[in-house]
């Protein structure tokens, strides 16, 4: 049964993994298309890395299939893996070899990768200056770039990156995002895993959300975590009066301090003693603001921020929660 969508580079159907008696991945299915950036979102321990390992043949699924460009990773690994470049977890290279020697090492494992190509990818990830130094001396960011160079070496159609911005500084994160977008614009399908909602929102076209080894949703980023579900931080005075006013709306949920504490750092920094954090549909904001002004509440700021992954999970599982 082939229900492959046209342009689907990675085709995953009903992937299951059981280790011992414990099923750690339950029936995960999704497709990644040419030229798109696909996010794989879930908290740590949700099964992201296990799934990624199954995608690239490091772990054998208990059930289900992974097809890359039409080739089954388990049955035809030599054909399937030709089209994938990947970094699973950390970009681990041989520290006692130079960057160049590392790339040579992986180039030798495949046909038709010459020194020209190695030079090309080195330029692409801006490692030119230090490529002939031992990897032992590289910073994490440089290792990450070397890892990507390695992944791109064989001109793959699918690039799999596991938490690519982990451990990078803010500048490095921005560069990485821009770089990934550039690659996707060139027709490459990019699969990115992350535990940060904002990361996925900033980068991805579509997303699969997983928790506890289960797939909770697959769809476009806008659809799944769009404006309607955003959170709003109100910087208002007097706070009590504003609280009462906000609670009066049926579709506005006031988030308690525990929920607010779980916000991502950038959002949490905006919160002060006067702040009220709510889950508010976007289109309500002007109306509420208007009322606040009329009722004499001083509004010092209104920020719309990304909901936390935890909130998203709550919405998705309707209060069921995740462990």
């Amino acid at each position: 049964m082939k229900q492959q969508t046209s342009g689907s580079v990675l085709h995953v159907r009903d992937l299951n993994k059981r280790i011992g008696r414990k099923t750690i991945i339950h029936s995960i299915s999704f497709d990644v298309r040419e030229g798109e950036i696909f996010g794989f979102l879930g908290p740590n321990g949700a099964g992201k890395t296990t799934t990624i390992r199954m995608l690239v043949g490091l772990i054998k699924p208990t059930a289900g299939t992974v097809e890359i460009c039409g080739f089954d990773v388990q049955k035809q690994p030599e054909q399937a893996l030709k089209y994938v470049g990947s970094i699973v977890e950390n970009p681990e290279m041989y520290p006692y070899l130079t960057g160049w020697e590392n790339l040579m090492h992986f180039a030798r494992m495949q046909e038709e990768i010459g020194e020209d190509r190695i030079r090309e990818v080195t330029e692409l990830v801006h490692l030119g200056g230090r490529i002939h130094e031992k990897v032992r001396t590289y910073s994490l960011g440089m290792r990450q770039r070397l890892g990507i160079a390695q992944a791109l070496l064989a001109r793959p159609k699918l690039l799999i990156l596991d938490e690519p911005t982990n451990g990078l500084d803010p500048k490095g994160i921005k560069e990485m995002r821009a770089f990934i977008r550039e690659l996707a614009a060139g027709g490459l399908a990019v699969f990115v895993s992350s535990h940060l909602l904002s990361e996925i929102q900033l980068l991805c076209d579509r997303v699969a959300i997983i928790g506890g080894g289960r797939e909770l949703a697959v769809g476009s980023v806008d659809e799944l975590m769009g404006a309607g579900r955003g959170m709003v931080i109100w910087d208002v005075e007097p706070r009590d009066k504003a609280l009462d006013l906000l609670r009066g709306y049926g579709d506005i949920v006031v988030v308690d301090s525990a929920g607010a504490a779980a916000l991502e750092d950038a959002a949490a920094a905006m919160i002060n003693a006067r702040s009220v954090v709510t889950e508010t549909p976007e289109e309500r904001v002007p109306e509420v603001l208007d009322r606040m002004v009329r009722e004499g509440i001083a509004v010092r700021g209104v920020h719309r921020v990304a909901p936390t992954l935890e909130r998203l999970f709550l919405q998705m599982t309707e209060g069921e929660g995740i462990e």
Binding site: V56, G57, L81, Y94, Y96, H105, R108
Partner: protein, 329 residues
Amino acid sequence: MNRFWAMVQNEVVKIVKKKRFYIVLLILAVLVPIFSYAQMRQSLERRESYGSDWRLEVQQAITDNQNSLSSDRVPQEWKVYRQIYIQQMQYYLDHDVNPNEPGGVTFTREFIDNSSTLFIPLMIMTIASDLVSSERTGGTIKMLLTRPVRRWKVLLSKVTALLMFVSLIVASAYLICYLISGLFFGFKGWTIPVFTGFVLNGSDVDLSFVQATPQWRYLLMQAGLVWFVGVVVALLAFMVSVLVRSTAASIVVMMAALISGSILTNMASAWTSAKYLFMVNLGLTEYLAGNPAPIQGMTLGFSLAVLAAWAAVSVIISFLVFTRRDVLT
């Protein structure tokens, strides 16, 4: 096929750049002069007590051993061993050949004889034990196994590189030994006759097959046997390195096996089924020199077969485990 050799090249590059092989060479270069010096002191001492006539020395050795045979305190196994030794020495005396003639070649022969069960296997282990486990500890196995190459090919390239290094280590052990000891004792001695073919019959030595072999031929035969032992140890260590995640653990496992082997050979003569353990069969060169086997019923052919079986099983296990196991960490 080209890609396969390119992968073997990869493995060779990694072994060389990890500097393990240099460590092996360094150990040899440090130890051989120490032993050579010790040997030199010994022969100087001999010359002092026996003068320049080696016959006196051999005669003395025979008499000493004969005296100890009559002593009750010497265990029976030792007596067998000494009887054989006496007969061999007598044979040398009768044929007017000095068994202890100092020279670079003789030293090399003796050094390799003594190092074939522990020292050379140890050096081989430094390379074999981390061939797979280091890829796992370093996490590079994820890169290695996500390339479009079947896992058995990856493993085969590693085994091939390993066998190349076993050969290289054995060869360099000979070379370094000869070059350094040659500086002490001179580079001569290739044609000195060495007697081989002592067949042991209980406590008697059957001398009917004994023949004088020029030392260079003896060295060649010895090298073949040492290489075989090296290959077997390498394949076993390789299997352990596939099974165990940490390099340190894999070295310890193999060390324990080897050392238990040398202990067992000294005490296992009563426990005959111990002869199927690989560790007690590593002393192949002993057969060449005509020394008694540690356990009754062991012959050169038997030991070769036992070692080959162990090697074959470890190769099979290595491949089965490596190609099927999930890479979880």
